[in-house]
Symmetry: C2
Subunit: 185 residues, 2 copies
C-alpha cells in the first residue's frame, strides 16, 4: 500500500509537470502517457486542482484576446492560446459535425481557412487589417472531432504589408499551410 | 394620353426583353435604365407577371442545384444561377451585416473565400472533391449589402486534378480572384 501511495504521489507530480509544460494535453493523452484510466486522470486533476482542458484553454485565451488589436474576440475562429503581436500566435479549434460535408464527413475547407486567416489577422500589430493575398494548401483531410492547432508566424513587415505563415496540425501531422499577406489600412 | 400609353407599352416591351437578356438585373438598375421610379418598375413587373429578383434567382438556382454532384445545395455559399459541369458556373451572394468585421463594416474574407471555394467545388464533374491548393487575391474591400457575382471556369482537368479559376465582382469591379486545384477522391 505504501508503494501504491508513493506511485500515486509520483504520478501526481509528473502529471502536474506535464500539464505545466504542455497545458493543452488532453485527459486521454495523459491517460495513455501514464498508463492509467481517464477516470484516474480526472481524479488526479481534481486533487491537484487543475481544471479540465477546455477550461484551461479558455483561461489562457481570455488573457490573449485582450492583446489583439485588429479584430474582435468573437471574430477569431478557434481559441487563442498564445499571442505575441507581429511575431507569432497559436490557436486551437475543436472541429465538430456541424463543420463537415454531408457526403464525406470531412471538415469543409473554409472553416480551416477561416481559422488560419483569423489567426493571421489577430497576430498583426495594427488597428485595422485586411487580407490581400493568400496562398494555401490543404494536405490531409480533417475529420469531425479532430483538434486543430494553428501556429502563425509573422515573417516580414514591410510598410503596411504583413507577411504571415500559418501551419495547422492534427496531432503533429500538418493538414494545412497558408501564406498570407495582410494589409493594414 | 394615347402617346403616354404607347410609351408605357414600349417600356413594357423593352423591360421584358431586358430582363430576359439579363435576368439578374435589380429593380433599382431597371429604374435607372428607364428613368422611372422603382415603384413603376414593380408595377410593370406585376403587369408582365415577372417575379422579383430574389424569386427569379431562386427559380433558376433550384434547377441548377440538381446538376451539382460534389456537394449539397445547402453547402453552396450563394445562389447558383448557372452551371455547366467541368466547364463553368455562376453564383450570386447578397452580403449582409452578419458577415462584416465589427470595426470596419467590411465583409470578412472567409465569406468571400467560401463563396469562391464552394462554387469551384460545385462546378466539378465528380462525386467527391476536396480543395488541394488555392491561390487567392482580395482586390477591393466588400461592404455589407453589396451583391457579389462569382464566375468559375474549369481551365484544366488532369487525372483527378481540376483547375478552377474564380472571379468575384461587385457591379463589374473585380473584388476577388482565386485559383483552385481540386482533387476528386
Amino acid at each position: 500500500m505504501s508503494s501504491k501511495k508513493l506511485k500515486r504521489k509520483d504520478r501526481l507530480e509528473r502529471l502536474k509537470k506535464e500539464i505545466q509544460e504542455n497545458p493543452f494535453i488532453t485527459d486521454e493523452e495523459l491517460s495513455e502517457l501514464f498508463n492509467v484510466s481517464i477516470q484516474t486522470i480526472r481524479l488526479d486533476r481534481l486533487y491537484l486542482n487543475i481544471p479540465e482542458l477546455r477550461e484551461r484553454i479558455r483561461n489562457v485565451a481570455k488573457i490573449n484576446y485582450k492583446k489583439v488589436r485588429t479584430i474582435g474576440e468573437a471574430e477569431i475562429i478557434g481559441e487563442l492560446i498564445d499571442i505575441e503581436l507581429n511575431k507569432k500566435g497559436i490557436s486551437i479549434l475543436e472541429t465538430d459535425s456541424s463543420m463537415v460535408f454531408k457526403k464525406t464527413k470531412i471538415v469543409r475547407g473554409h472553416y480551416i481557412f477561416a481559422m488560419a486567416e483569423s489567426l493571421a489577422m489577430a497576430v498583426i500589430d495594427a488597428d485595422v487589417a485586411l487580407t490581400g493575398v493568400a496562398n494555401i494548401k490543404y494536405r490531409v483531410p480533417v475529420l469531425s472531432g479532430q483538434k486543430l492547432i494553428a501556429k502563425a508566424e509573422v515573417t516580414r513587415v514591410r510598410g503596411n504589408n504583413y507577411f504571415v505563415h500559418v501551419k495547422i496540425t492534427v496531432k503533429d501531422e500538418q493538414v494545412f499551410r497558408g501564406k498570407f499577406i495582410l494589409v493594414s489600412i
